[in-house]
């Protein structure tokens, strides 16, 4: 199938190195300590953060650092065909783990020993790139909760179809069976916290694809910073400062 036309347009009209539209909102879940909705085109994710709070299960308590827990789920209505999504299936366990590991690398857990931070992410609408969207949403929610972090983690995916590296695959491109590289970085420190790939890629091409995904992460980081800044300004304004 032709995913990139010879004119250089993808199926949805983007060029190969263009991302989908990003929209984000903080404080979407009133009860949570911090929350965010993150949208990337038609992929929409809500994240809620609770904590730092007392460790619920004593046996998991860590004496020198905070316990970070993460739960990923997909809403039944998130895909085209509505079906019951069982909790704790392989895929969601894996993504939960991936998100947890990515977030743990940026949270200053040593400042909050013997406590627990819960991150809940739910996919409201899935259109490819849910993994990255979840990490971005979790980053925003953590920031909203005021949890001390070294930096925000941002993530973006890139693929390789029709011999062209493509940034930010949507569902149609994702299900083409080509390689799908998801990268998570700490943009200022320039460190990679997450790197996953499906399918196979020759090494030299992989490098260009990963480079593209990293560029995407950086662009998202810029966007997220602006959103956070806007939000802070608004809070400041409301306080009447």
């Amino acid at each position: 199938m032709e995913f990139v036309s010879p004119e250089g347009l993808r199926l949805d009209g983007r060029r190969p190195t263009e991302m989908r539209q990003i929209r984000a909102e903080l404080g979407a879940v009133a009860k949570a300590d911090g929350s965010a909705v993150f949208e990337m085109g038609n992929t929409k994710v809500v994240a809620a953060v609770y904590g730092p709070r007392e460790v619920q299960n004593r046996s998991q308590l860590l004496n020198d650092q905070a316990l970070v827990r993460c739960e990923y789920s997909m809403a039944n209505f998130s895909t085209g065909d509505r079906m019951r999504k069982p909790k704790g299936d392989r895929r969601s366990t894996e993504i939960s783990l991936v998100i947890r590991q990515a977030m743990e690398s940026c949270i200053m857990t040593h400042l909050m020993p013997r406590s627990q931070i819960d991150i809940f992410v739910q996919v409201l609408q899935a259109d490819g790139g849910t993994r990255s969207a979840c990490i971005n949403a979790a980053s925003l929610a953590l920031a909203d909760a005021g949890i001390p972090m070294r930096e925000i983690v941002t993530s973006c995916s890139a693929g390789y179809l029709n011999s062209t590296p493509l940034l930010d695959l949507n569902y149609v491109e994702d299900s083409a069976g080509g390689p799908d590289v998801t990268v998570g970085i700490l943009p200022k420190l320039d460190k990679v916290t997450l790197l996953q790939m499906d399918s196979k890629l020759p090494l030299d091409i992989f490098e260009t694809v990963m480079q593209l995904a990293t560029e995407g992460c950086k662009a998202i980081a810029k966007e997220l910073r602006e959103i956070l800044l806007d939000n802070t300004k608004q809070l400041e304004f409301r306080r009447g400062g």
């Binding site: 010879p6 199926l11 009209g13 085109g41 038609n42 085209g80 949507n170 196979k200």
Partner: protein, 933 residues
Amino acid sequence: MLHTKSFVKKSRAGKITKVVREHYLRDDIYCGASDCKLCDSKDARLTASHASPILVIDTNVVLNQIDLLENPAIEDVVLLSIVLEEVKNKNLSIYNRLRALCNSSKKFFVFSNEHHKDTYVKQMEGETKNDRNDRAIRVAAQWYQTHLSGAARVLLITNDRENKRKAVEEGICAETIESYVKSLGRPDLLDQLVHPSTEDVNMEEVEDLRPSKRKIIYSEHKPMSEITSGLHRGIYHQGKLRVNRYNPFEAYVGSESIGDEIIIYGRSNMNRAFDGDIVAVELLPKDQWHEEKSLAIAEEEDDEEEGVHLVPGSADDAPRTTSQCESETTLASSRPSGRVIGVIKRNWHSYCGSLEPMPLPAGSGGVAHALFVSKDRRVPKIRIQTRQLENLLDKRIIVAVDSWDCLSRYPSGHYVRTIGEIGDRDTETEVVLIENDINSRPFSSQVLACLPPLPWSVSPEDLSNPIRQDLRHLRVFSVDPPGCKDIDDTLHCTALPNGNFEVGVHIADVTNFVHPGTPLDDEASQRGTSVYLVERRIDMLPKPLTEDICSLRADVERLAFSVIWEMTPEADIISTRYTKSVIKSSAALSYIEAQARMDDSRLMDPLTTDLRNMNVLAKIMRQRRIERGALTLASAEVKFQIDTETHDPLDIGMYQIREANQMVEEFMLAANVSVAEKILKEFPLCSLLRRHPTPTREMLEPLLRTAAAVGLNLDVSSSKALADSLDSAVGNDPYFNKLIRILATRCMTQAVYFCSGDLSPPEYLHYGLASPLYTHFTSPIRRYADVIVHRLLAASLGIYKLPTVFQDRPQLTSIADNLNYRHRNAQMASRASVELHTVIFFRKRPTDAEARIVKIRANGFIVFVPKYGIEGPVYLNQKSEKGGGEWFVDEQEQKIKKMDGTLSFSVLQAVNIHLEVVEPQPNRPKLQLTLHI
């Protein structure tokens, strides 16, 4: 700007889901006019001017008039992305042609109207998809008009009346393709126009003066829904229709559902299907299974007689013997026959041929209807209309098929282009190339850019490269046909102190220059093989590679891939070594020179000694191979002597095989087998090998029947048994044995390439060579298969990584299929080229020659002329007095006798034949054989 498309889709399982997709609209899509002030004109291809308008064409125009669009006269065309998409959904081959046009130097510009913010239109309530797309085309045309605002004329070309009306209402200039082409004032373009079928029917009415005679010739095709349900219920069978190359009234449909071939006799049962079409077939009732045959013969009468042609090299080239049906009277009921009830997928393309001779109509310049006869006999005559009849009558032309109405006897088509005059050597050669789908275009600049800079020589890096062994000290030489420029194999043979021999085969290291994934590699894999015609060669790789950089010429250093054995004097292989190397050939010998050196007992120089040693080893290897059951098959290869000035053939004769040929061949076989073993061991699932299927008894039937007629009993139980009985088949006639071998060869199918993962190991067998494994390694300059094998071997030695293609088995299989296809076409083309030159040769010199009867027919016999390697019919009866006459045929005994008993001919008997070129119709020369008593 973002816009969301949402639609409801039904999945194959019948589930209904809502699909939501994003659709981005952009402001950075440019109009493509080179002097547009608003747009970025970096990629602009259109020149806007008032004289020639910018054409916006609609989908149906593209689908019907693609040949016209390919004409260089049609320029400045805007292709909307919606049009491309519709074309792609309707006809992929036209889409590919259209894409090729956009990439060529023609001024075609693709405008992505669907993603442009001003030209995107949303489907309105109650509007069908077609109407929406038509509207999108109009909106885009309008946008162009306002965007270029007077800088150029924009013309919407549409044949849809409604669309045109609406366009004019909206203030867009719109015309039909006919009126546009007429306004150009070019009659040759008008010929390329496809006329709508409604018009066609009208013309036929005019044509046929007796309306009562107008009847339905073919039955209506069943609607698609009925076919699918019929296929489901198993009453219809689906398959690809293959028309018998030698009898266009007989076709086969290989059906999976029935597990056997369904025979279709006669045009009416074929029901307008072409060769290569995917058709749905209904089986005829059993009692009609044989009846149809006689019907087919009756219909055949108006067809031309069988021509003289080259002797077939294998069963694939040979006609499906019609004599089969004689013996099949009892078997007839076992072969199902059927009739086509619908065509699922058409395989129409353009065909090469000429117009059927006809008197010129009184008034020239008007529209004339003519029948086109394709060179490919499998294709029926095609009706075309032309305004340049007198021009075309003596030309070879290309014609494309448009439609075939069930009221008309012949399909209707249109003229595409002229190749040249009939009978002209260049024209006919081009016809051969086109017919066999051979790309003879010069290599593109991208391909040539992949070549290393010239003059090339072995660099110090190559020499110091650890993977490359320096073998320049070895006395390496090559033995090839005289005048060979693309030398891809060399040999060496050194006596070792322990009495053994080190024998090496060094093959040009093509993969050092042809890297996977480059345009050069893509082109080579498409071409598949070099094609050798009588007077020219069409290379697989560009000339600098074939004749210089890779050619292992004498006294120059070249890169090679070597297979080196240590052999005992009894030709037992002790060890095998594979390495990339640098060699320096010391002599490029021809077969004749090599043979002369070996035969001349006075010569004792080292090179000659090497040659003699090798020859001794080769003889032992050959003997051993024959003992294993390898067949020594014979072919009637001929060789032309070509005049260097005029390129006309001066003389033809049989190709002589010398000991030196056999010696080189033996070592090449050994190298191929060694490499096959190595790569299969390393890559059991993705190696490219070559196999030769064991012929079935059925296939050998014609041979057995002929042999039985002369009282010879052949044992065909195994290749060994066959080889032995062929050896013992010696008659009192020196040529007898060779004749039997030639007959045996043509019963077998050709060897084919395959991917080792697709078959099980016992099927890897190469029957003819009696080798369990075989591949092609020794000619990478002229065969792409060898390039692949070189890569595999390099990977198995750990020199390079295995290219990614090899991990994808379906792709590898498709490469193997393409190689087989190209290989076969290349052979057909060389044969056709030889046939062509044979006719040219005999045109000036009618000759008498001795010939052998190979088959007895009802009205004559088929003879084989060994000297010229040709085969053709000799008619004893005149065509008109069919069946009767003074000759009596005994089919069982394969004898033909004169009624008065004065003359009788039997199979394999020698007769004297007179060869002459006759022109029964002007410009249609053909070779005729007559009995010369």
